[in-house]
């Protein structure tokens, strides 16, 4: 059973940002804190007919009532969450083929892979989802050919189609007499 710390690490390592440069805005939080502290809360409006009697009266302590600390905290948290949200956080617990360059998928598509072909396709799809997000070019290398077939660099959408259309090579019949006509 994974420990809490392990779960947390997994969560954080699974987290990435689509626009990480926006996280620099977090540096601005102290400024927001300062501004919120300095600007007093908006005054309540009170309709007061004997207003004339109030003219000239000064509250001897003119420092405005401070914003209560919990309101300050709440606003800061809201601001921080807004910044985090704008940085496009992505949670992907399966760290498949992260990176910035082209994605190369080397796929064993021999007849032995037929049993788990769907699992394999799912894994490829996962990797391609990440590539689609980051718009990385994809190269697919199928190994079970006489000479490995290497595709051109594909855009992720096309790669997804290629993966969908891909099937494992058919095997050859067991009896050696058929082998002559069989090119796996």
């Amino acid at each position: 059973m994974p420990s809490f710390a392990g779960l947390l690490t997994g969560l954080i390592s699974g987290l990435s940002f689509g626009a990480p440069y926006l996280l620099y805005a977090l540096i601005g939080l102290p400024i927001i804190y300062w501004l919120l502290r300095v600007t007093p809360p908006a005054p309540k409006r009170i309709v007061f007919p004997p207003l004339r009697l109030l003219f000239g009266l000064k509250s001897s302590e003119e420092t405005p009532a401070r914003t209560p600390w919990w309101l300050l905290l709440l606003r800061l948290i809201a601001a921080a969450l807004a910044i985090l949200a704008l940085a496009e956080p992505l949670y992907d617990p399966t760290p498949v083929a992260r990176g910035a360059g082209p994605l190369v998928l080397v796929v064993d598509n021999g007849w032995t892979s037929a049993a788990q072909w769907q699992t394999r396709q799912a894994a490829m799809n996962r990797a391609l989802t990440g590539a689609t997000r980051d718009n990385r070019p994809v190269l697919i290398v199928a190994t079970a050919e006489n000479a490995p077939v290497i595709t051109q660099f594909l855009d992720p959408g096309k790669a997804l189609q290629t993966v969908t259309d891909m099937t494992p090579r058919r095997g050859c019949p067991i009896a050696p007499r058929h082998w002559r006509n069989c090119r796996p």
Binding site: R45, V47, P49, L53, L57, S59
Partner: protein
């Protein structure tokens, strides 16, 4: 003549009005109707005070700090109106809107009845 008002106008306005009424021979019964908030000034914190009849507003950083001096002014003003009424021999009654209106009406009725009885109606 019964004149019910909050009597918060400037004193000279009230005085001028009372005098003109007195010249016309009226005997006045003034009923000051008081909003409890105007008398007690329960406001706290930062507030902007406005009135529909006055364009100016005033902002108080801590409204509770002026409560005592405001009440002194308010009482002094009411006292001055009462004094104006007294000089003309008029009746001055006060009624807070958080009290049952019956009490004010009974007091007014008593004052009116008393005056009539004195004059021999």
């Amino acid at each position: 003549m019964v004149w019910a008002s909050d009597f918060l106008q400037p004193l000279d306005e009230i005085e001028a009005h009372m005098k003109s009424l007195a010249y016309s021979g009226a005997h006045g019964y003034l009923v000051q109707i008081i909003d409890p908030a105007e008398e007690d000034f329960p406001f706290m914190g930062r507030a902007r005070f406005e009135a529909h009849t006055i364009r100016d507003t005033t902002i108080l950083g801590r409204a509770e700090m002026v409560r005592t001096s405001y009440r002194q002014r308010y009482d002094a003003h009411a006292e001055a109106v009462k004094e104006l009424a007294r000089r003309l021999g008029w009746v001055f009654l006060r009624h807070r809107t958080d009290r049952p209106p019956g009490t004010a009406l009974i007091a007014l009725y008593g004052a009116l009845g008393g005056a009539r009885a004195q004059r021999g109606f």
